[in-house]
C-alpha cells in the first residue's frame, strides 16, 4: 500500500525538508478537503433524512418516536463500535451477531432459574453472564486468529456459525424467559432516555476517547495501517489484536443483554444478521475496510442513519421491502465517497 516509488527532489535549503505533498490542482484539493470532512457530510445526510421524515409525518420527532429511535440505535451502535476497532486494526468480526443471540439466550436461562431473587440482582447477574459469554467468544476468536492463524474473516465466520448453532440448541428454538419487568427497564426515564440507553451512550463516549486519544487506539490504528511497522516499533501486535477482539466480544455481550431487556426474553434468532448491520454502519461511516483509516464518529452517525431510514420508512408506511434497497444505496454512496479519498481508496492506482 505504501507508495514509495516516487523520486521526489527535495526542496532547496535544509536537509530533506518535509512538507505536505502538493495537490495536483486547487479543485482536486478542495474535493479532498470536502471528502476528508466525511463526518460532516454524514451529519448533513442525517439531518436531511430527519427533516424529510418529519415533513412526511410530524410524529417522527415526537417524544415517543425519538425514544424508539434511541432504542433501535442502541441495538446496533455497540456492535458498530466494536466493529470499528476491529476494522481499523485491519480485521473483521462476523461473530458479533450470534454473540448477541447466544449471550441473550444463556443469560435468559440463568435469570429464569433465579426465582425469589430481586429483579435488579437478576438483571445484574444477566449482564455479567452476557459479558462472560461475549468475552468467551472473543477469546475463541483470538485463539483462532493468533494461534491457529486463521484470517479473521474465516475465524469469525466459524464462531458466527457455532454461536448461532449453540443458541438454537440451548433455546430449543423458542424464546427463553418472559420477564416483563426487564422490558419496563427500557422505557424512557429521563426525557427520551432509558437507563440502558444512557449506559450505552456512556460506553460509546468512552470508546470514542479510547480509539482517538489513547495509546490503545493509537496501537489499533498503527496495526491496521502497517502491521509490520507496528511490530518493528515494538508494539506487541498479537496482544493488541487479542484485546481488540475481546473488546468486540464484550460489546456484543452487552448488546445481548440490551436485546434481552427489550424483548423480556432471549430469542434464538434475535441477533442474526446484526453483524452486517454493524459493518454497514461502519462502512457508511467512512471507516476503511483496509484498516488504519476511520473515525468512530462516522460509524456512530452511520448507525444513526441506518436507524432513521429503517424506522422512518415504517413511520411513513412505505413497503418494508424498500428498506433493504435503501440500505444498499447508502452503502454504495458511502463507498463512492471513500473512493474519492486520497491514497487509500478503491480508485487508488497502487
Amino acid at each position: 500500500m505504501t507508495q514509495q516509488g516516487v523520486d521526489a527532489p527535495g526542496p532547496q535549503g535544509a536537509a530533506a525538508v518535509v512538507e505536505p505533498a502538493e495537490g495536483a490542482d486547487g479543485a482536486l484539493e478542495r474535493i479532498r478537503t470536502l471528502v476528508r470532512g466525511q463526518q460532516f457530510l454524514l451529519l448533513i445526510a442525517l439531518v436531511v433524512l430527519v427533516v424529510f421524515f418529519t415533513i412526511e409525518r410530524s410524529a417522527f420527532i415526537s417524544q415517543t418516536e425519538i425514544s424508539n429511535l434511541l432504542n433501535d440505535w442502541s441495538t446496533v451502535v455497540l456492535l458498530a463500535v466494536g466493529e470499528t476497532f476491529v476494522i481499523v486494526s485491519g480485521g473483521i468480526d462476523l461473530s458479533v451477531g450470534s454473540t448477541v443471540t447466544i449471550s441473550g439466550v444463556v443469560a435468559a436461562k440463568v435469570m429464569g432459574g433465579m426465582t425469589g431473587t430481586s429483579e435488579p440482582v437478576i438483571l445484574i447477574v444477566g449482564l455479567l453472564v452476557c459479558i462472560a459469554i461475549g468475552l468467551l467468544v472473543g477469546a475463541i476468536n483470538v485463539l483462532l486468529i493468533n494461534v491457529a492463524r486463521l484470517v479473521p474473516f474465516v475465524a469469525t465466520l466459524a464462531t458466527l456459525g457455532a454461536g448461532a448453532g449453540f443458541a438454537l440448541v440451548i433455546s430449543g428454538g423458542a424464546p427463553v424467559g418472559a420477564d416483563s419487568q426487564a422490558i419496563e427497564f427500557t422505557t424512557p426515564k429521563l426525557w427520551v432516555f432509558s437507563w440502558p440507553v444512557l449506559a450505552i451512550i456512556a460506553i460509546v463516549v468512552v470508546s470514542y476517547l479510547y480509539l482517538h486519544y489513547s495509546r490503545f487506539g493509537r496501537f489499533t490504528f498503527a496495526i491496521g495501517s502497517n502491521r509490520f511497522a507496528a511490530r518493528a516499533a515494538g508494539i506487541a501486535v498479537k496482544r493488541q489484536i487479542a484485546k481488540i477482539y475481546m473488546l468486540s466480544g464484550l460489546l456484543a455481550g452487552i448488546t445481548g443483554m440490551f436485546y434481552f431487556l427489550r424483548l423480556g426474553s432471549g430469542a434464538p434468532t434475535s441477533g442474526s444478521g446484526e453483524e452486517l448491520q454493524a459493518i454497514a454502519a461502519v462502512v457508511i461511516g467512512g471507516v476503511s475496510l483496509l484498516g488504519g483509516v476511520g473515525r468512530l464518529g462516522g460509524a456512530l452517525i452511520g448507525a444513526a442513519i441506518l436507524t432513521v431510514v429503517t424506522d422512518g420508512l415504517v413511520i411513513i408506511n412505505v413497503n418494508p421491502n424498500w428498506n433493504q434497497v435503501a440500505v444498499a444505496g447508502l452503502i454504495a454512496a458511502a463507498a463512492a465517497l471513500q473512493a474519492l479519498r486520497p491514497g487509500r481508496g478503491l480508485t487508488s492506482s497502487d
Binding site: D72, G165, G173, T186
Partner: protein, 337 residues
C-alpha cells in the same frame, strides 16, 4: 518468513485436526442412537427449519407416539432455513438409509415431489404434514392445520378484543416475517377475508416484516405506535412477531389499550397471554399433527393397506384467550424437549 509459515501451518493443521476430531466424536455420539434401531422400524421425519418451536413440538410428539408403537423416529431438517435447496439433500440422505416410512413437511410442493417419488417407487409409504407435495394423491395421507382458518379466527378475536361496533373504524397493523413466507400469506389472506365479510370498519393501516428477528418486530410495532396514535389492534402473524409485538406493547405501557392477537403457543407467549398482554393467541396443533401422521404410517406398515386411513385431515387452529382454562393452555402450549 518460511520458518514462521511452516510453524503456522503446523498449528493450523493441529487446530483443524482437533476440530475434525471433535466433530467426528459428536457425530458418532448422535449416530449411536439411530443405529440402535433396525432399519425397518425407523420412520424418517423431515421438516424445514427444525428449530422452529412448531416443529420442535412435532418432534417431541412424534418421538413419543413412535416409541409407544415400537418404532423410532429419524428426525432431520436444516436448523433455521426453510428452503427446498437445503431440504432436498437431507431427504435424499434419508432415502439412502431405506427407512420404513417417510413423514415430511415439504418446503416447496413442486421441488419436493421428485424426492418423495423415489420413496414411493421403492415401496416406502409417505405422509405429508403441515404442507404437501403437488400430487397429493401420491401420498398416504396429509395432515395439516388450517392457516387461512387461523387468520379468520385471528380477525374474529381481534374484533372482539377491540369491542368492534358497527359504524366505527379501527386502525390495525399486521406483523409478518416476510412477504413470501407461505404460512404468513395464508393467514393474512384468511384475516383479510374475514374482515371484508364481517368487519368492514377494520382498516389495515400498516404491514411490516420482521425478517425472523423479534427485535425488528418490536421496532416495527414501536414505530407504528407513534405513527398511528389511534392504533386499535395488532395481528402478530407468527411466533417471532408475537414476541416482538408483545415486548413493544409492554414497553409503551399499552397493555389492554392496544389489542394484540398473536400466533403460536410458545411457552413465553402463553405466559404473556395469562398476563393479558395478548388478547388472544392462535395455536396450531403440531402435537396432534405429528401423532396422527405416525399413527397413519404405523397402521399402513402393519396391514399394508390404506383401509382406515383418512387421506386428508385438517385440524382447526385453536383460539386461546386469557379466559381459557389452565388445563387447555397447558395442553396447547408447544412442548419443548
Amino acid at each position: 518468513m518460511y520458518g514462521v509459515m511452516s510453524r503456522g501451518r503446523n498449528r493450523l493443521m493441529l487446530a483443524a485436526a482437533a476440530l475434525v476430531a471433535a466433530f467426528v466424536a459428536a457425530l458418532a455420539a448422535s449416530n449411536a442412537q439411530s443405529q440402535a434401531a433396525t432399519a425397518n422400524k425407523v420412520i424418517a421425519f423431515n421438516v424445514g427449519a427444525a428449530s422452529d418451536p412448531f416443529f420442535v413440538a412435532m418432534e417431541v410428539s412424534a418421538d413419543a407416539e413412535a416409541k409407544k408403537l415400537g418404532y423410532t423416529v429419524d428426525w432431520q431438517g436444516a436448523p433455521t432455513e426453510y428452503s427446498p435447496a437445503t431440504q432436498i439433500p437431507i431427504v435424499d440422505t434419508q432415502f439412502a438409509q431405506k427407512p420404513a416410512a417417510l413423514i415430511i413437511a415439504p418446503t416447496d410442493p413442486n421441488a419436493l415431489q421428485a424426492p418423495v417419488n423415489q420413496f414411493i417407487k421403492a415401496g416406502i409409504p409417505v405422509v405429508n404434514v403441515d404442507t404437501h407435495v403437488t400430487k397429493l394423491g401420491s401420498v398416504l395421507s396429509f395432515i395439516t392445520g388450517n392457516n387461512a382458518n387461523g387468520g379468520q379466527n385471528a380477525a374474529k378475536a381481534l374484533a372482539k378484543a377491540m369491542h368492534y361496533t358497527k359504524g366505527k373504524t379501527y386502525q390495525v397493523a399486521v406483523g409478518l416475517t416476510s412477504a413470501t413466507t407461505t404460512t404468513n400469506v395464508a393467514r393474512l389472506a384468511g384475516f383479510k377475508q374475514e374482515i371484508k365479510q364481517h368487519y368492514p370498519g377494520i382498516k389495515i393501516v400498516a404491514v411490516g416484516y420482521s425478517q425472523s428477528q423479534p427485535t425488528k418486530a418490536d421496532a416495527n410495532v414501536s414505530n407504528w405506535l407513534s405513527s398511528f396514535p389511534h392504533l386499535s389492534g395488532i395481528f402478530a402473524i407468527d411466533g417471532t412477531n408475537a414476541s416482538g409485538a408483545s415486548a413493544a406493547i409492554e414497553a409503551h405501557n399499552l397493555v389492554g389499550k392496544v389489542a394484540l392477537v398473536g400466533y403460536d403457543a410458545y411457552a413465553t407467549n402463553v405466559a404473556l397471554l395469562k398476563k393479558g398482554v395478548f388478547s388472544a393467541l392462535i395455536a396450531q396443533n403440531p402435537t396432534q399433527e405429528a401423532k396422527l401422521a405416525v399413527d397413519d404410517v404405523v397402521k399402513y406398515l402393519k396391514h399394508h393397506s390404506k383401509g382406515g386411513i383418512k387421506h386428508l385431515v385438517t385440524l382447526p387452529n385453536i383460539v386461546l384467550t386469557p379466559k381459557t382454562s389452565a388445563a387447555a393452555l397447558t395442553k396447547y402450549t408447544y412442548p419443548a424437549p
